[in-house]
């Protein structure tokens, strides 16, 4: 006997007329029947969905003589070519699930009525058993699919966990805690602590759109890029800008990364941060809860994105919370979102470290109810500066930060004030600070007038570096008018009052008199004026 079965249910369901039929071992040979293919004991035959044989067999009362079939059917032709004489439909619960195909009798006699009755009985008994076997096979297949998905999730989780910090930084006078809770379909959340020069700590919190292995891989890549870039510069804005440039060309379609990068000086509490579309951190102070606001495009979307930096000081007793969407976008059974106001309110209580995280997660559980299935990864990072810590000696503090301003007249005032604020805590004598500010203002004015030609769309970059000994401010313009002319003419008040020299022309003269040194460098496309001022009065103290 040959047995031919085909997964008709699956085949019809998938609309695929040429799925290869699975081969089932031949049933116990029927006496006197001949195998069409004795070598293999079975043949495989695909029957197209549109083949009229299917409808015929579906309603056939019993075994069908292939020779007597008058159907325009490729399957019938194939059966004849395979030497099949008799086809016994296998019908279970009204559904054709396969056929028994028999070759001619060895005696070369036609199949008798008894043979046919026996075969019909056999088919009636075999069909349900075969159907059960098919169902088992389908279920095994589905289980394998589920296992594949679970396996993918395990891989994603593994990747994810591989890149989470194994331990938290141990900073004197700071209490740091972090929580990462993956959703079942693991998202692309991450956080990282990076040691930086001068005892500072880089803190990254990010979220890759999408889930599973693709998101985990993008997260891993972003994590590595941020680490690499943080070793090259300590400007959070620049770190994000460089990461963006690297991620844009390799980002899969419809994916991007939101990321907040902060650099904390644990000794002074000064925090500088830049943001690529991530949630704004909350800071709880004695005066209430505030946001540290910085904006920028998510990473991997648009080339040449710029990331402004924001600075602040985490005062003793204050608490910072960085967090991903998973918490604020969690829904309660009524589909209400947890939301920012609720989180902000939760931050008003003065908890620290893991106590704060535990309380936030408890608030979340209360909000969502017990049957909640976590929708997205949840990442929480909190830093609290111990209260009652005296301000550290500024001699030890160092800082590098920067920002850009539009190259528009009047913005020199903005640059001056921002530099003033950035170095305010470095212990520079007020008179020297005023001099530095004037020099910054004048150098920025030149950069705006010559470098940007007063165009708001041509920025001027200001970088501030504080070493233990000096403050260095670098003002870089786009050199649209070439180099800033060094005053060929030293301003002379006598000549000016006599009308022999124009009234203007004090800029470079002032700069040179305000700071300890001024250097100008140019690379053709940019010009940088570097102003250096010792933090301690060298002569006139």
């Amino acid at each position: 006997m040959t047995a031919l079965t085909r997964p008709i249910r699956r085949l019809l369901g998938r609309g695929d007329p040429l799925v290869e039929a699975p081969r089932v071992p031949p049933a116990e040979p029927i006496p006197e029947s001949a195998a069409a293919d004795q070598a293999t004991g079975s043949i495989a035959l695909d029957i197209a969905e549109s083949d009229p044989l299917l409808a015929y067999l579906q309603s056939a009362p019993g075994p069908v003589d292939v020779a007597k079939l008058e159907l325009d059917s490729p399957a019938v032709t194939a059966l004849r070519e395979a030497g099949v004489a008799l086809v016994v439909p296998l019908v279970s619960q009204g559904e054709l699930i396969g056929t028994l195909n028999l070759g001619p009798r060895l005696s070369e006699q036609d199949y008798s009525t008894d043979d046919r009755r026996l075969l019909a009985t056999l088919a009636a008994q075999a069909a349900p058993a075969i159907r059960v076997a098919q169902l088992v096979r389908e279920q095994a297949h589905e289980a394998a699919e589920r296992e594949k998905v679970d396996q993918e999730m395990r891989v994603a989780t593994l990747i994810q966990q591989q890149f989470l910090p194994r331990e938290l930084p141990n900073l004197p006078h700071w209490q740091i805690a972090a929580y990462y809770g993956p959703a079942r379909a693991v998202g692309g959340d991450f956080y990282d602590f990076i040691e930086m020069p001068g005892g500072r700590i880089g803190i990254a919190v990010g979220d890759v759109t999408d889930k599973g292995v693709p998101a985990a891989l993008v997260m891993a890549r972003t994590h590595s890029i941020l680490r690499a870039e943080a070793s090259r510069t300590d400007s959070p804005g620049e770190i994000l800008a460089r990461a963006n440039e690297l991620l844009v060309p390799e980002m899969p379609a419809r994916m991007f990364v939101t990321c907040l990068f902060a650099i904390l000086d644990p000794r002074t509490g000064r925090i500088v941060l830049a943001n690529a579309g991530h949630n704004l951190p909350y800071v709880r102070t004695d005066d209430g809860v505030v946001e540290l606001r910085a904006t920028g495009m998510p990473l991997g979307l648009i080339s040449d994105s710029h990331y402004n930096e924001t600075e602040g000081v985490i005062a003793p007793g204050s608490n910072v919370l960085l967090y991903s969407d998973g918490l604020v976008e969690a829904h309660d059974p009524g589909q209400q979102m947890f939301g920012f106001p609720r989180l902000r309110e939760a931050m008003t209580i003065d908890d620290a470290g893991s106590e704060l995280l535990d309380r936030l997660l408890e608030d979340l559980r209360t909000f969502t109810g017990p049957d909640w299935e976590q929708e997205d990864d949840i990442t929480l990072v909190t830093l609290r500066r111990a209260s009652g810590v005296s301000e550290p000696a500024v001699e030890a503090a160092s800082l590098t930060t920067g920002f850009s301003i539009p190259g528009e007249q009047g913005n020199e005032r903005l640059a001056m004030d921002r530099v003033g604020a950035a170095v305010a805590d470095l212990g520079i004598a007020p008179a020297r600070l005023e001099r530095l500010k004037t020099a910054v203002s004048e150098a920025t004015m030149n950069a705006i007038e010559y470098g940007s030609q007063g165009r708001a769309d041509v920025p001027v970059d200001v970088e501030i570096e504080a070493t233990p000994d000096a403050v260095i401010v670098r003002i870089t313009d786009r050199a649209l008018s070439g180099a800033v002319p060094d005053d060929a003419e030293t301003p002379d008040i006598d000549l000016k009052l006599a009308g022999a020299q124009k009234a203007r022309g004090w800029g470079l003269f002032l700069i040179k008199n305000m700071v300890d040194s001024m250097d100008v460098t140019s690379d053709g496309s940019t010009q940088t004026v570097t102003l250096t001022m010792a933090r301690k009065e060298p002569t006139d103290g």
Binding site: R435, R504, W506, L510
Partner: protein, 110 residues
């Protein structure tokens, strides 16, 4: 700090005309300062006092405006003095030698 608009208020007091300056003394102050000095010339005092008490910021263009005003005053035979300058701007007036040509009064002068 935001940029603050420049203002110049001219008042006559015994023996002089006082110009009360306020805001940022930069390129944008040009016309206001020129108009104020014109008013001073109309009043024709022997001395004009520039009160910088409410000026928070002076840049090099502002210095140039002061130089221009000083030149005009000298042509007019009029003495100029500066009052209410912060220590920082007194230093700048010294460095630029503006202080050689105008009296610098420390604190709030009468």
């Amino acid at each position: 700090m935001d940029e603050r608009q420049f203002g110049a208020e001219v008042t006559e007091i015994p023996d002089e005309v006082r110009m009360r300056l306020s805001g940022d003394l930069n390129a944008k102050a040009d016309e206001t300062l020129a108009a104020a000095y014109e008013r001073v010339t109309e009043l024709g005092p022997r001395r004009v006092s520039l009160d910088f008490g409410r000026v928070g910021y002076i840049n090099s263009t502002g210095i140039a405006l002061v130089v221009r005003l000083l030149a005009e005053a000298r042509r007019d035979g009029r003495a100029v003095r500066a009052i209410g300058l912060t220590e920082h701007y007194r230093e700048i007036f010294r460095i630029t030698r503006l202080s050689d040509f105008m009296e610098i009064v420390e604190g709030d002068a009468a």
